[in-house]
């Protein structure tokens, strides 16, 4: 391994103080990309020329004494399902071949306003459907910590980009764990915000009621800072939370809480996600307990809590998410943009041939699942029942939060696994069991690295918080990080 990676906040401070520049920061990261990207394949596209122009402009503005923003000159990578005006956005799918968005996602505008420099679009499981980035139409991303293993998914490219030092910051999207699980597997911090805290405008939808954009960073302080930049009400997203509610809950000022400690906070460890179901690796469970112990040692009141419905989230999710996806992905029909099969006798045949050729196997599987689940005669038994389970999960979590400030669990049942190890879709789906409930409930959750598990691969511990509970979630995550650093230093 090379030197400890520089964080976004350190870089921003260096650039602001004149110790570095946006161009120098960009060059350093482009050099690392040149060194390892061929091997890792974190990016679908590296936008070096645009990035250089942006960095030069930022340096000029800084030299002119302008306030360029809290992330002035800091490189950032974007998951390739966020629209960037004039820059191809593919969702790692053949079906979006050749499509160039005519507009920027709200998060892209916010990053630009904060002075960040976009360096490229990162690889993902096609349309964010997967947990390993093996479902990308453009080939998998490799885990920078061990290239025989997956980086997790679906935001595997964004996780790998930060882990490999290609960019100190990146954005992913999380529908069932797609930020937190790859963060855990790549040993970085990944966070899914409260549903509606970050605008979805310009995020290409997988499952609209579950999708949220969130940050990947080296540490908790960077995560909080990047989250503060991208969060906020957006009138273009009807599910966006009003500004007043965000400020009242302290969601837009989470950084202030990082050094407060956890004395007196109530932490619940979710029993159902601590080994009572198969597939959790013992080392992962042991590290999660160690993290809980560390919190107790720092003054938190730690207890076990049972959330019986949590494990049913997986089943509900695999009905709700595909149902929404089957509708969201209908527009990729070859009529207006993207891949079109030529020479078909009529529009219907052209549409089905284009979709057959343009989508990969996992996307087709989920479109079929979702279509079936919404069909007449099955709608109530599948989609309807899944929505009722969702309501139960929300109620169970809200009940737990009457007694606890945050909850704790492993992020992923296992550490990064070798390519091809989970070829069976159901085995792969089980990877999301601990992360899915937060998406169904709309609650925030964060994965913070805590030690290592099998084969010395990193373990992620998940901190879950109630709706708009980002502030306390970050407060606890910062404590876990301090404990991890202390333990790492001691070993």
């Amino acid at each position: 391994m090379t030197d400890a990676p520089i964080t976004g906040l350190t870089l921003a401070a260096d650039i602001a103080a004149g110790r570095s520049s946006a161009v120098a920061a960009l060059d350093g990261h482009l050099a690392r990309i040149a060194e390892r990207e061929d091997e890792i394949h974190a990016f679908n596209l590296v936008t070096a020329d645009q990035a250089r122009a942006a960095a030069e402009s930022i340096d000029q503005r800084l030299a002119a004494g302008e306030d360029v923003g809290p992330l002035a000159g800091v490189p950032v990578a974007l998951k390739d399902n966020m629209c960037t005006e004039g820059v191809a956005t593919t969702c790692s799918s053949r079906i979006l071949e050749g499509w160039i968005p005519p507009y920027d996602a709200t998060v892209v505008q916010k990053l630009e306003a904060a002075g960040a420099v976009m360096v490229g679009k990162t690889n993902l499981d096609e349309f964010a459907m997967g947990s390993s980035t093996e479902n990308s139409a453009f080939g998998p991303t490799l885990n920078p910590l061990d290239t025989s293993r997956v980086p997790g998914g679906s935001s595997g490219g964004s996780a790998a980009a930060v882990a490999a030092g290609f960019a100190p910051l990146s954005l992913g999207s999380d529908t069932g764990g797609s930020i937190r699980q790859p963060a855990a597997l790549c040993g970085v911090v990944g966070m899914k915000p409260s549903y509606g805290a970050v605008s979805r405008y310009g995020l290409i939808a997988f499952a609209s009621s579950l999708d949220q954009i969130g940050p990947f960073t080296h540490d908790v302080a960077d995560s909080a800072a990047l989250f503060e930049v991208i969060a906020g009400h957006d009138p273009q997203d009807s599910t966006s939370i009003p500004h007043q509610a965000l400020t009242d809950a302290g969601v837009l000022s989470v950084s202030e809480r990082l050094s407060e400690g956890v004395d007196g906070l109530r932490v619940g460890v979710i029993s159902e996600l601590m080994g009572s179901i198969d597939g959790f690796e013992p080392e992962v469970l042991a590290q999660t307990r160690a993290a809980a112990d560390a919190l107790a040692g720092a003054g938190a009141k730690v207890d076990e809590v049972s959330i019986p419905s949590a494990i049913y989230g997986l089943s509900a999710y695999y009905l709700i998410a595909p149902a929404e996806a089957s509708s969201n992905l209908a527009r990729y029909d070859g009529v207006r943009y993207g891949h079109r099969e030529q020479g078909k006798a009529n529009t219907g045949l052209m549409m089905s041939a284009s979709r057959t050729a343009g989508f990969g196997a996992e996307v087709k599987r989920r479109i079929m699942l979702g279509t079936y689940g919404l069909s007449a005669g099955y709608h109530d038994a599948f989609y309807g029942k899944a929505q009722r389970v969702r309501t139960l999960i929300i109620n169970d979590f809200e009940r737990a939060y009457q007694d606890f400030d945050v909850l704790l669990s492993p992020t992923s049942p296992c550490v990064a696994f070798p390519f091809g190890a989970k070829a069976d879709p159901l085995t792969m789906y089980l990877n999301d069991v601990a992360t899915i409930p937060s998406n169904l409930a709309g609650h925030p959750a964060l994965s913070v690295p805590f030690g290592t598990g099998a084969d010395n691969m990193p373990v992620g511990v998940q901190v879950l918080a109630p709706m708009l509970g980002e502030a306390v979630m970050y407060q606890v995550a910062a404590e876990i990080e301090r404990a991890a650093v202390a333990a790492g230093g001691a070993s």
Binding site: S208, R390, T391
Partner: protein
């Protein structure tokens, strides 16, 4: 707070039994059935009205008819990847106006996706409303007094338009197709009636009344010919007096009230013919062929449509506050029925009254009446002489003055018509225009002398007229008009001729 959970399907669906308040026959006189004895029609209408908003239902693109193809568009109404819909508040307000005018209950409502693949639909689903529409349980009272129940009036977005380029302009032999998305995302209100309509004339009356209402409340320009108002008819027949509901067919492509009547008549007769032949209709969508004067089955559907409706997770429920609804109600203008009643109370002829309200010119008649002018003359002008552009801008006081001048005999009806036309064009007062033309009523004694001269010139004709050849009255009237350059009043001439004949 579980904001998104609100949008899920945990709403109580509206049951059809809650909506049957108006299905019983009322006691009003109904039109005779145009069917063989023993059969009656059962008709329900689905009317789509484009809402008169500045922008589209969910997108900032301009809501405008016509224009170069694909110019009134925006990433949202094109359904580009990553875009999200935002509800147009003005569209909701206009929809509530119509709902209140139709006596509907306005309720918290949810947008749902109606999923099907079609190239002129950018997302391959249409955002509509399903089990929680905005307006429910309304009614429309027709001029005849018959009440038709309105099941619901819900918001949705329009689709684009395809043009098939090829020999026939039809899709199956087109070389290629062009799609114009200017109309995609235009806000629509779909008003669904109960099957309470029993004949073509009643269907036309319902559609006309609904058109008058949406225009009156400013919700839509209601133009059938431009497609801003579109009617689909659900038609079935049954033995007269029965209350069964037999298989219905939905008739589309009806572009005028006249076509609506013809299409229903044709379709109902087709159903009766099928039953009489021992056969029965199949439930299907049929298209009205205006030239052929018949309905035709659409392309056969191998399987039933399954739209896989579900609550749109990109949108939150719309929950109009009672205060907002009250404000909208308070600001509603007088409705066509009340406006007709005002003129009927003033003694207006029902047909002319209906036409005056439909043309939105009834206030002219009311002002004229309150200024002392006779209502029949005012309505005749409105019906016969004001079917022109700019009639709505006519100064009501001027119109009242004109009708009064005419009824006082200061202008002949011919002169009044001419002056009225110039009033619409110029906005000037009738007295000034009449004076410029030298339109002053002639003295009867002047006419008397004139007529004596004409009789002297035509003694044979006068004798034959006195012997009972009444058609010669026209010849004498014409001679007088010619001599007076049209200034004489026809009625006065008739009286003069009659009195001279009898002496």
């Amino acid at each position: 707070m579980n904001q998104q959970n609100d949008t899920l399907e945990n709403e109580t669906p509206v049951s059809s039994t809650m909506l049957s308040a108006w299905t019983t026959e009322s006691s009003v006189e109904r039109e005779p059935q145009g069917l063989p004895d023993g059969w009656e029609m059962v008709i329900g209408l689905d009317v789509h009205a484009e809402l008169a908003t500045e922008t589209k239902m969910f997108s900032p693109a301009t809501n405008q008819f016509g224009g170069e193809p694909n110019t009134n568009i925006h990433p949202v109404c094109l359904g580009l990847p990553g875009t999200l819909p935002v509800v147009n508040g003005k569209a909701v307000e206009l929809s509530i106006r119509v709902g209140l005018a139709l006596n509907c209950t306005v309720q918290r409502c949810i947008f749902a996706r109606k999923n099907y693949f079609y190239p002129d639909m950018p997302k391959d689903y249409q955002i509509s409303q399903y089990d929680r529409p905005l307006n429910i349980n309304g009614s429309i009272q027709l001029p005849s007094g018959h009440v038709v129940g309105v099941e619901r009036a819900h918001m949705e977005e329009d689709t684009g338009k395809s043009t098939h380029v090829g020999d026939s302009g039809r899709i199956h032999d087109a070389g290629y197709s062009l799609v114009d998305y200017n109309r995609a995302g235009v806000p629509l209100l779909e008003i669904v009636s109960h099957p309470d309509i029993r004949g073509p004339e009643e269907a036309k009356a319902y559609a006309a009344e609904l058109q008058a209402i949406v225009i009156a409340v400013g919700a839509s320009d209601g133009k059938f010919e431009e497609g801003s108002m579109r009617v689909d008819a659900n038609v079935s027949v049954r033995p007269a007096g029965s209350d069964e509901l037999r298989t219905r067919c939905e008739i589309k492509n009806v572009n005028s009230l006249r076509s609506l009547g013809r299409a229903i008549q044709y379709e109902a007769q087709r159903h009766v013919d099928l039953y009489l032949a021992g056969d029965k209709p199949v439930q299907e969508t049929r298209h009205w062929d205006e030239e052929g004067g018949r309905t035709r089955a659409g392309r056969s559907k191998e399987q039933a449509e399954d739209y896989r409706y579900f609550a749109d997770p990109d949108l939150v429920p719309v929950d109009p506050s009672p205060q907002w609804i009250d404000e909208i109600r308070a600001a509603l203008p007088a409705l066509p029925r009340e406006r007709r009643q005002a003129l009927l109370d003033a003694g207006g002829d029902p047909e002319n009254v209906a036409m005056a309200v439909q043309r939105n010119l009834d206030s002219l008649a009311l002002v004229a009446v309150s200024a002392g002018a006779p209502i029949d003359k005012a309505l005749v002008h409105i019906v016969n002489n004001l079917a022109v552009d700019g009639a709505e801008e006519l100064n009501a006081e001027h119109f009242a003055a004109l009708v009064t001048m005419e009824s006082n005999g200061d202008l002949t009806s011919t002169q009044a018509k001419q002056v009225l036309g110039e009033m619409v064009e110029s906005g000037r007062a009738p007295a000034d225009l009449a004076a410029e033309h030298g339109f002053e009523a002639m003295d009867t004694s002047e006419l008397d002398v004139l007529l004596d001269g004409i009789i002297a010139d035509h003694p044979d004709e006068w004798q034959r007229f006195c012997d009972g050849e009444n058609k010669l009255q026209g010849m004498f009237t014409g001679q007088i008009m010619k001599a007076t350059q049209g200034k004489a009043d026809g009625k006065v001439i008739a009286q003069l001729l009659a009195s001279k004949k009898s002496t």
